[in-house]
């Protein structure tokens, strides 16, 4: 291609060489606005290299205090706390998944044709999703008192809305033809749901619930800090008295537990989805 030919093509189809001027200007403007916002935020929060450096040296001190990790004298308390955290996550996730199933069905566009009902349910999910687990935990601690019950309720309440939305979306992505097959055989609404939709979405739903169980095990540690039961309380107490070596020990145990749950649920998920493929 000679320069003259290239120029001729550019004259003939300018938009194939560069986006129109308007779009380029808009893009530049957007990029500038983002950069300005970023810079403003950095200045506002006083991000300076010196402060970051200081923070790092503080972190290094903590790390030094963590070595070697030690279980301390209260072995039993730590194990009980960990078991409590895992149990909270399990209970909370199971409750959330069970409640999210019917809500997800009600929120699915291809199943519920009453737009107003579906719309209000979807907005309700959105509203609940705006409130974090920790806030629910603080509220439940006031309502039902200190302890794991508050934690379980917080996990369940916060996850119902998210799982219901994911479930609704999974249901909307089902293949129509399979459902049509059930309808053509004389199946009503309930039969179509039970035999056309559920077999397609159940593995996906279980897989998602397993992901939530794993992430909730981690979250359950935080909930303890605000008094909602679990290992978090133990961690908070030890940080208060600067027993960093014991904190490190608990953290190591949690990493092991989360890794074990992750490995287990990955195997389960593979079996579920593999089973669906056959």
């Amino acid at each position: 291609m000679s320069d003259a030919e290239t120029a001729a093509w550019r004259a003939r189809l300018p938009e194939a060489f560069a986006p129109p001027l308007r779009r380029r200007l808009l893009r530049a403007l957007g990029a500038a606005a983002c950069l300005a916002w970023l810079g403003w935020a950095l200045a506002l929060f006083g991000f300076t290299p010196a402060r970051l450096w200081q923070g790092l040296s503080g972190l290094a001190t903590i790390l030094r205090l963590m070595l070697p990790p030690s279980p301390g004298a209260l072995w039993g308390d730590i194990l009980r706390g960990l078991a409590e955290s895992v149990a909270m996550a399990l209970l909370g996730t199971v409750a959330a998944a069970l409640l999210a199933l019917p809500l997800g069905v009600l929120g699915a566009r291809n199943l519920v044709t009453a737009t107003l009902l579906r719309f209000s349910i979807r907005r309700l999910f959105d509203g609940f999703r705006g409130i974090d687990q920790l806030i629910w935990a603080l509220a439940y601690v006031r309502a039902v008192g200190l302890g794991p019950l508050a934690g379980v309720l917080a996990i369940a309440t916060a996850d119902i809305a998210v799982l219901a939305k994911l479930y609704a979306e999974a249901i909307e992505a089902v293949e129509r033809r399979q459902v049509e097959g059930v309808a053509a055989a004389g199946g009503g609404w309930a039969e179509r749901l039970r035999f056309g939709v559920l077999p397609q979405v159940l593995p996906v739903m279980l897989a998602q619930a397993l992901y939530f169980f794993e992430s909730n095990t981690r979250a359950a540690a935080i909930l303890g800090v605000v008094g909602a039961g679990g290992i978090g309380l133990q961690i908070a107490e030890r940080i208060r008295v600067r027993a960093w070596d014991e904190v490190a020990f608990i953290i190591l145990l949690m990493i092991v537990i989360v890794a074990a749950i992750d490995g287990l649920s990955a195997r389960l998920r593979r079996r579920l989805i593999g089973g669906a493929g056959r």
Partner: protein, 266 residues
């Protein structure tokens, strides 16, 4: 001159390509026929090194293709353009960019870094691609996403991408099995023209014996990974074909139709 020496590929216990030896002179148009699962696709993919051989060698003008690595391998792939049954376009990129992918292996150094960072090809390459798209009557679609195109249009874009590689060899794997008759003719004629006018060697896998007879200089028939016929189209008469496949030509054609209808199996 392209030379295959005892080329073999096993997938687990099955032997997809079984000790195939073949010499293809430069500028030949070679049709490869055979039933589904005969090893035609694997053979072409071996040539492009999309699949690694279990044994055997590929020589091109004396160079051992099977030993190429890194940059030399990329240059070999640039030199032997591939056309697929399912087109293998990047659906979310526009037609022009899909065609420009054929120019990827020509970008080096700073220009390559800039391309990878911004996704924008140089003006000269764009002009070259536009000229190719015009040749295939696709200019009006240049800025549309590939996914909005019909199958025939997509295969024409794929041909543009292949020809923009300025290859010495074209490997076409069932290029017309998913197309309507008009587009099939167009694609086969484009391949034939690239072979005749530009002297490219073309290896094309085909379901239909008729198509192979109409367009190819030479026909190779494969069965269970082995070559069971190799010769000019006129030598492959009905009796010969039945001996090769164990069933008459009409049945073979019917079977091919069925195979084409479920491309995922091919």
């Amino acid at each position: 001159m392209l030379e295959l020496q005892g080329l073999t590929r096993r997938f687990g216990a099955t032997v997809a390509v079984d000790a195939v030896s073949l010499a293809v002179p430069a500028g030949q148009m070679l049709g490869i026929i055979g039933r589904s699962g005969a090893g035609k696709s694997t053979l072409l993919r071996l040539l492009n090194r999309l699949v690694e051989p279990s044994a055997g060698r590929i020589l091109c003008d004396g160079t051992d293709v099977t030993a190429l690595r890194g940059r030399a391998l990329r240059r070999w792939r640039r030199n032997c353009a591939m056309v697929f049954q399912q087109f293998n376009l990047v659906q979310r990129l526009d037609v022009l960019t899909n065609a420009l992918l054929g120019r990827l292996a020509y970008q080096h150094g700073l220009g390559r870094a800039r391309l990878l960072l911004t996704g924008g090809f140089p003006a000269e390459e764009r002009a070259r691609a536009l000229a190719m798209l015009e040749r295939f009557d696709l200019l009006g679609l240049a800025l549309q996403r590939a996914e909005t195109l019909s199958g025939g249009q997509q295969q024409r874009v794929a041909l543009c991408r292949a020809l923009l590689q300025a290859p010495r060899l074209i490997l076409a794997d069932e290029p017309i099995a998913s197309l309507d008759p008009a587009n099939a003719r167009l694609v086969m004629q484009a391949l034939r023209q690239a072979n005749r006018a530009e002297g490219l060697t073309v290896l094309v896998n085909l379901h239909h014996l008729e198509t192979a007879r109409a367009y190819c200089d030479r026909i190779v028939a494969m069965q269970a990974g082995r070559i069971v016929f190799d010769g000019p189209p006129e030598a492959l008469d009905a009796a010969r074909l039945q001996a090769v496949y164990g069933l008459p030509e009409a049945d073979l054609a019917a079977e091919s139709e069925a195979a084409a209808a479920r491309p995922a199996m091919a």
